[in-house]
């Protein structure tokens, strides 16, 4: 079986590195001292509520915004200083792909192809057929789903080293969402290519990501391999003999939520001995299982 993360790849420079990046819009801190690295060959999931700073971070990676404070490197280069080199190796799809409505589908693809020496016409044709896109249709007449698919072809057909998808699934039906997820999997099964994928649909992120970063109000709350995040967070349901008006004080818990006799605790299961914790509280354990990414996210977002 093939190892996708060999020792030499792990020790190599990260594909993307962000160091102490801060950005303010007026009095609002859109990004506050964000530091992270994306290694080659992985799917990096970026999660957070609307306005958490996901798109702001991505715009810095694309060189659309200059770092106010801190440093951004993509392929080891500053994307603001070397936009042509950096953007030539990136495929980008946003929530609302900015495609010229008056163009026909074939015109748009010919136009896009001109920017990318590595454009793979056979691959683009294959995707067009798979998605059932009409070459003669005007872009403005396409449905939201078909427009997203066209955006995906434009982002993917030059086989970029880095595919960046910013909330690509927003407002799309499950079939188009699946096409997008399939594109992510295709991209990384192609040796050495990397995906950054931002979404508020956490089950999608859980499906495809190797590494997950969680932004909340501009700060990075979590940034770790998905396996580690899953292994560390447990969801424990406790039942007490007498009702509690306030959440019971559970040492080491990230979040305690519930009412009356039954309370749900999200905690780091590798640090807490659950039966001992329940016993010391005088509660019985009703359920103890791995927390979903959704529950983990909500728990961390609630902590300030």
């Amino acid at each position: 079986m093939r190892e996708r993360h060999g020792a030499d790849e792990a020790s190599a420079e990260p594909l993307v590195s962000v160091a102490s990046l801060s950005r303010t819009f007026g009095s609002k801190k859109a990004l506050d001292d964000v530091t992270l690295a994306v290694s080659r060959g992985c799917v990096f999931g970026l999660v957070g509520e609307n306005g958490a700073g996901k798109s702001t971070l991505i715009k810095h990676l694309l060189g659309l915004w200059r770092a106010e404070r801190g440093e951004v490197r993509v392929f080891g280069l500053d994307p603001v200083l070397e936009p042509t080199t950096v953007l030539g190796r990136i495929g980008y799809l946003s929530e609302q792909p900015d495609l010229p409505g008056w163009m026909r589908v074939d015109e748009l693809l010919r136009y896009t192809r001109a920017f990318y020496p590595r454009w793979d016409t056979a691959y683009a044709t294959q995707l067009l057929e798979q998605f059932g896109l009409d070459l003669d249709a005007r872009v403005k007449t396409l449905s939201k789903g078909q427009r997203a698919r066209l955006g995906l072809i434009a982002a993917e057909a030059h086989r970029p080293d880095l595919l960046i998808l910013d909330e690509p699934s927003s407002g799309l039906d499950p079939i188009v969402r699946r096409d997008i997820l399939e594109a992510i999997i295709r991209t990384i099964t192609d040796e050495g290519r990397t995906v950054i994928f931002s979404s508020h649909l956490l089950d999608e992120v859980e499906r495809v990501s190797d590494h997950v970063a969680m932004l909340h109000q501009g700060t990075l709350k979590l940034c770790a391999p998905l396996d580690d995040i899953k292994a560390q967070h447990r969801r424990i349901v406790l039942r007490f003999t007498v009702p509690h008006a306030d959440p019971p004080n559970v040492p080491g818990a990230i979040r305690v939520e519930g009412a009356g006799r039954e309370w749900t605790v999200i905690c780091d299961g590798s640090r807490i001995h659950v039966p001992a914790m329940a016993q010391s509280l005088g509660a019985s354990i009703v359920d103890d299982c791995a927390a979903s990414l959704d529950e983990i996210f909500v728990a961390h977002a609630a902590v300030n």
């Binding site: 079986m1 996708r4 999997i185 099964t189 859980e206 499906r207 495809v208 190797d210 791995a290």
Partner: protein, 133 residues
């Protein structure tokens, strides 16, 4: 092969995949000696990260259920067929029991409840014996 995974259940996807594959092997849907799909194909079919598939295959390997043959793929071990055979042998036993229960005019829920009760009784009896010993 249809394997549905649920990414919002909390159970890590690789564990879900391990369980689904074990089930398919135990019921004979995947036979001994058969080759499992490549990591790439499995990842693309299920729309999950290829590393998740790698991890599931490694788990199955360390449980002795599959073997990784370098360069040629992942194969279900011959030895697991013993268990599948046993399950096959059990099928007529359970079929005749269910036939007789249905003859008594019991419905599906009744039969399931009876089966679970019987298993629970035996479990309690075993635990009591253990405690006394």
């Amino acid at each position: 092969m249809t394997l549905r995974l649920n990414a919002s259940s909390g159970t890590p996807l690789y564990l879900q995949l391990v369980e689904r594959l074990k089930h398919s092997i135990a019921t004979g849907a995947i036979r001994a000696g058969e080759q499992l799909p490549s990591v790439r194909k499995m990842a693309e079919d299920l729309v999950i990260n290829p590393n998740t598939v790698v991890r599931a295959y490694r788990d199955l390997e360390s449980d002795g259920i599959v073997e990784l043959r370098h360069g040629s793929g992942v194969f279900v071990r011959e030895s697991v067929s013993a268990r599948a055979d046993l399950m096959k042998k059990a099928e007529p036993v359970i079929r005749s029991a269910v036939d007789r229960l249905e003859a008594l005019d019991l419905d599906e829920d009744d039969i399931r409840r009876l089966m679970e009760n019987e298993l629970a009784l035996r479990r309690t009896a075993r635990q009591t014996r253990k405690r006394r010993a």
